[in-house]
Symmetry: C2
Subunit: 191 residues, 2 copies
DNA sequence: CGTTAACATGAAGGACGGTTCCGCTTTGAT
DNA sequence: ATCAAAGCGGAACCGTCCTTCATGTTAACG
């Protein structure tokens, strides 16, 4: 077995990769996960071939973006764990923060809403997120402010619904994701 | 202006139309709204051309099915109005009945979840449904068992989320629409 | 500089799925 | 039985997108 001498990645290639990720984020945010590959390449001022050099498939690009999204959500939810306030308020505030960020981005909505492949990737961000949410739940239940039977899966389920409602609203339906969250969170709270 | 003598629709044509609707319902239930036209025609033992003779577009077929779905849902919700039981229980039972029927059918989920074109048709079924739901809400609020600020739009929103959760569950996601409904309905109830 | 491997390009390829079209068949009225 | 209109079939058409590939370009290293 010999050591293969890898030439370092070329500087322009790295730049292009970053431009592609940014362009994809923008295109997906605007048009949802079925934004066209050519549009993404155009926004990055790059040929489609270049896109395919960096990502073997459009799907791979989506997964990369999804992972990025989940990392950010996990950041938000983990950060909230340090907040010393009322357990319920802290949890609810974190959810609202995540939802507000997601609602402005069609792709987030679709990913949170459960895009088949992006979700199946049991990725680091998702695991961090699940763990942080679990801690929030345990705390809130300990303080008696969250229904005792609530689970991490319940939160996932609610956010899945949220993603779709927000996406539908963006698409013109007369819906209000704000009401959705208010009601769902109330349903999660102890009465 | 002369009276145009319309020859009555031929018997075989009527049969084919019915077979097409049934086949479409089956195909959509199984594969969702993006079931293929050719598959629908095949199930109806008919050529695609025949399908297009009866429905100018795949979309038209979807709208026809959607209208049928909404009529049925309206039937269920209207029927519940005659129930003399506790206002909340009656309302909740009607929602559960609708949800249970819908959860078994991918197309129902997608339509309830807010399929763009099928929803925009401010059709008879939808109007009946909205009106019946409005009556339920007014009654429950009058009895003090539903949050005072709940609206028909809130129910639509919740069912939109439901549709997506149920569809995702059918597609293999580890979600539980049962939990979703339980929590959302709790959030709608007076505490 | 010169060399070379990595990289970029975008037109062409290919798969997929809705829709059209025209020749053939069936119905129903005379 | 005959005929015209209505209906039927399904191969071909067409638009849309993702992906590939042959060709030209560029960064990095000696």
């Amino acid at each position: 077995m010999s050591t293969i001498a890898h030439r370092p990645q070329r500087a322009d290639a790295r730049r292009n990769r970053e431009k592609l990720v940014a362009a994809a984020a923008a295109a997906f945010a605007e048009s949802g996960l079925d934004a066209q590959v050519e549009d993404i390449a155009r926004r990055a001022h790059v040929g489609v071939g270049t896109l395919y050099r960096h990502f073997p498939t459009k799907e791979a690009l989506v997964v990369a973006l999804a992972e990025q999204h989940f990392e950010r959500i996990a950041d938000t939810v983990e950060a909230a764990l340090a907040d010393p306030g009322d357990e319920w308020d802290v949890f609810a505030a974190a959810i609202w923060r995540v939802a507000t960020a997601a609602a402005a981005d069609v792709a987030w909505c679709e990913i949170i809403g459960g895009h088949p492949s992006a979700v199946q990737a049991a990725s680091r961000g998702q695991q961090r997120l699940a763990s942080a949410v679990g801690t929030h739940i345990a705390r809130a239940q300990g303080a008696g402010v969250m229904r005792a039977d609530a689970t991490v899966e319940d939160i996932k389920t609610i956010m899945c619904g949220f993603g779709h409602v927000a996406a539908a609203q963006r698409a013109g339906a007369e819906l209000d994701w704000t009401r959705y969250l208010a009601i769902a969170l109330d349903g999660l709270r102890t009465r």
